[in-house]
Symmetry: C5
Subunit: 269 residues, 5 copies
């Protein structure tokens, strides 16, 4: 919490995280709408847009990113956020779980990460294991002085079987997930858009000064998407984490320009 304002992953207090962990989470199918996006260097290049305050990568791509920077003498690339856990959708799992595939030590010492990310599926039968994993991650990150971004995505049997909840984007579920980010010691919490500004307001009401970023939806029009982003910012949101909606387009620059205005400039006005 302390240092997040000073961190390179924020600008004017807000963030735009370019997430590129789809090769892990969904596999090559996510690159089909824009085959060039399968090439990491293509997305690394997109990350050079001024709007991007962090690029979120799994360990292997983070190694690639550092190599690409060196080999291409890149300046101005996005600060590196190493995603410490993840999973494929190939596995047959009893319920949601995301194993660690990078240590904080490796992320910081070897990859020079500016921040680390961790996904938690509260509501899963494996929730308690993830709390335990997260404890180690959070404390190690504190030791290294890097901020912690929590992908807080409540889902799984506990949500499905609870008749009071309508699903992962139920405002009560999203707000509880965000509060867990505060309680467990994250610096930034990344949440699903709960469908309305009221929903985001409810979330902001329970997280104190914790930074919040909206998880980008991929299916709306640009206008609707920008409206959603704006609506979260208006009530205290701190930006966006976005992936396919950027790298699946032929030319992501116009949308990034608009997001830059919405996230960093309107706010500071």
């Amino acid at each position: 919490m302390k240092d997040i304002e000073e961190s390179p992953i924020t600008r004017n207090g807000n963030s735009l995280i370019l997430a590129y962990d789809h090769g892990t989470e969904h596999g090559p199918v996510d690159f089909e709408p824009m085959p060039a996006s399968a090439d990491p260097t293509h997305v690394f290049d997109v990350g050079r847009h001024d709007a991007v305050t962090a690029i979120a990568l799994q360990k292997g791509l983070a190694e690639y990113y550092r190599l690409w920077e060196t080999e291409n003498d890149v300046e101005g690339g996005a600060p590196l956020l190493v995603k410490l856990n993840g999973n494929s959708n190939l596995a047959a799992r009893e319920d949601y779980y995301s194993p660690k595939q990078c240590s904080v030590r490796y992320a910081v010492e070897e990859l020079d990460a500016a921040a680390i990310g961790y996904t938690m599926y509260a509501g899963s039968v494996h929730e308690d294991e993830m709390w335990t994993d997260f404890r180690e991650v959070q404390e190690a990150a504190r030791d290294y002085g890097v901020p912690v971004v929590l992908w807080s995505y409540p889902r799984g049997r506990g949500i499905q079987e609870n008749e009071e909840y309508t699903g992962q984007t139920d405002p009560d579920v999203v707000a509880y997930g965000a509060r867990l980010g505060l309680e467990l010691g994250a610096d930034v919490v990344k949440c699903k858009y709960p469908g309305s500004q009221e929903g985001w307001q409810a979330l902001e009401d329970v997280v104190g000064e914790l930074k919040t970023v909206m998880s980008g939806g991929s299916k709306r029009s640009d206008e609707a998407f920008l409206d959603d982003v704006s609506s979260t910012l208006e009530v205290g949101g701190n930006g966006l984490a976005v992936g396919r909606n950027i790298f699946q387009r032929e030319n992501p620059e116009p949308l990034l320009d608009k997001l830059e205005t919405v996230i960093f400039e309107d706010e500071s006005a």
Copy 2:
């Protein structure tokens, strides 16, 4: 046991612990009766009342608490009790379990905790795991010289399926839970009110000099509540841990005033 009389979390041998772990345990729903209570700084302020000898917080809020103290140059805030384990009620669990989300090292070295807290659900199918977790916690706390408060809440399948017990507040269950606090090496044990002074007496009869605090009920009138507190103190109880009954009120000061009298002053008379 040794140092608890000297600890800042006691006064005249007794304690009033303001527990604010509801955002973890129950989620935002617990803030609804008093929306301002969702803001941690609101509750931190409540903790400045003289009656409060400890504020119990999860790791993320404890970090926030230390930041708030610094930024607001606060003096006289409540001593910090870091709650080391906890759980959400989002998860689907086979039976009760509460994973650790803070190490003793982090609580003491980084957060300067005056005490640590741990919840144990004896009676659960996960009881043995919690004993093992608690062993490490208790010994590390001894190494650091901070007292250990055990939330001893027997519940789960072992209680439910035992026809001799009527439930979590059965005096036999509560007394057994309290005795475990003594046997396992806690300095303070926090127990459910077993419904009568006789029940609390039975508990006191089996814990030697171990400190005991009653877990605050939220549904009675102030008068009935204060009577319960008094009734435990009369037979050897050492105070109260209370949360919603305080922070869900518009103005908690009058009740805190009364509790201060009951817990610290009547006793020393």
Copy 3:
């Protein structure tokens, strides 16, 4: 094995262990026949009888014991045997298991234990976990030079489902359990009385020079009880571990006097 003759927990090669772990294992119900026995200091006092060569306590009570010694300037209290594992009977378990709640390091370095104790339930589906736990305990105890007392109590599904066995006191079961004490590296093995001198003889025949103590039964007359003790000593037994049969009586001194004669003096005659 090496040092047990020199250990303070033996006298003339034999032992009388006053076991007071009932608050953990059975809860307050075991104190009902003699309510004063719920107070640890009452039992600590009983342990000052010359007959007692060790008092067996769980960690929390061992801490209390050391405090009581200091505060009361006690001399001649019983040597401390810290029981490293234990369990409550609140839990719903698949089969018998007893988790560790004290490390050897803590028992020896912080509590100055003269010996450590460990319970093993061979025959349980958790037997293999307990062997693994015991391995660490036994080797750490060797490093610290304190003797190891094994509560060897075969029970659980493997015994129940084996038609060749009649139960926990079947002489074949008891003898196998005793032999495991020898094979696994205990210094003293504590066994159930198998119902006859022949049963104990069979046990002695398979344990070489390993020390054996009979686990005290609580339901016979004093005479029958002393006869059982004598009958084990006649065939090579080394004494008794006893709890309720002592602390549940109004005046345990006469029985302790007799036990002292039987265990330590007749033998040396």
Copy 4:
């Protein structure tokens, strides 16, 4: 990724890995077509052919290999790739898993491995355990500066029960597996041949600059086999890992000569 071009396990950027882990994975049955192949020294000798850039062995055979080199004063033997995990097909498993039987430390410090190998079964119910195992392996290998070859073989319940997949050689499955090699930080990924050059092209499209080697099939004619190898090289593949197809023949030299031409010389032309 960084050092793989400089590694002895590549030549002109490509590799031919002679895999001899069949004694572990399948048992003696794999030696029946050519009984001499049961003798490790026979296969070590085959590995002296110039075409071979690495010989992949389990720990016990790797020890044997180093001994054989010393005793026979061998020069020009293949660089050693120690396979860190493996399994027998004797076990009854819930789903695919391959436990580690060699540490990176032992492979590098004691066996002087030039590279290490690890098999991952994405799609298994044990996938998450293997990710966790692989994380440690990959980071330790980075610390030692040895390249990591990932046998990426998606299989198990998650593949079988997914109607979109036809099996282990489904091009979508193979490509996802290859991408995981990139995301998780391998230097070389070893994949099943997906049945066509198009399939291999699809794989190459999603792995950036990661080295890829085809897993040798054993059942085709030499011509068909060499065609498959060529077809992968034409679209960016980096060679072959082959076992039975080599060591099960009376005289493997002619095929190795041809493979050398196809893998190392045509490419550099």
Copy 5:
């Protein structure tokens, strides 16, 4: 592999291991045919016969053995092989597993073991756990420079449910088990006699220079037993591990004399 020829547990390249782990594995019932055999010192004495190149004991008996040597000023006792894992047959297990009850460190540093032994049940649902346990054992033994004897006994559900196998002594099963000894880095592998010289030959054909010892059967005549031993030696076997067939006899010396001739002298002729 390297040092086994120099090890005290071999003589002229062969071994006779006197195994005395029956008290752990089977309990007192194995001593009934010869009650004196329950006394470890009786068997230690048997081990002084020149034929014996190692005595295999569990930790507790190994401690006893060292004490017996000191107290009796014994010279010429058998080199000590500490068996690191074992199990009782009291437990109800899902499938075969043998937990460790002695660390390599303790065996070597405290007990001065000349070799260590480990039992692996390939074919069990717990096979993978045992591989992981064995990895640590094997590498620690290498660090200490003591040879590793693998009791390779494939059994359990994977064997029972495989229609291609007839059971634990199926020559294919035995040979696969032996090969695993080679692949996993044992120095000596102990296998069941597969019923014929052809079966043992098949085993020898797949283990390179690995030492092999036959597990002694207890039910044949001396002549048949010696024939079996000879038949394994003729095709490359390196001796015998034997227990009940020796210690259950009134006078084991004549059989040991004959075994000495067969194992050590005929071979060197």
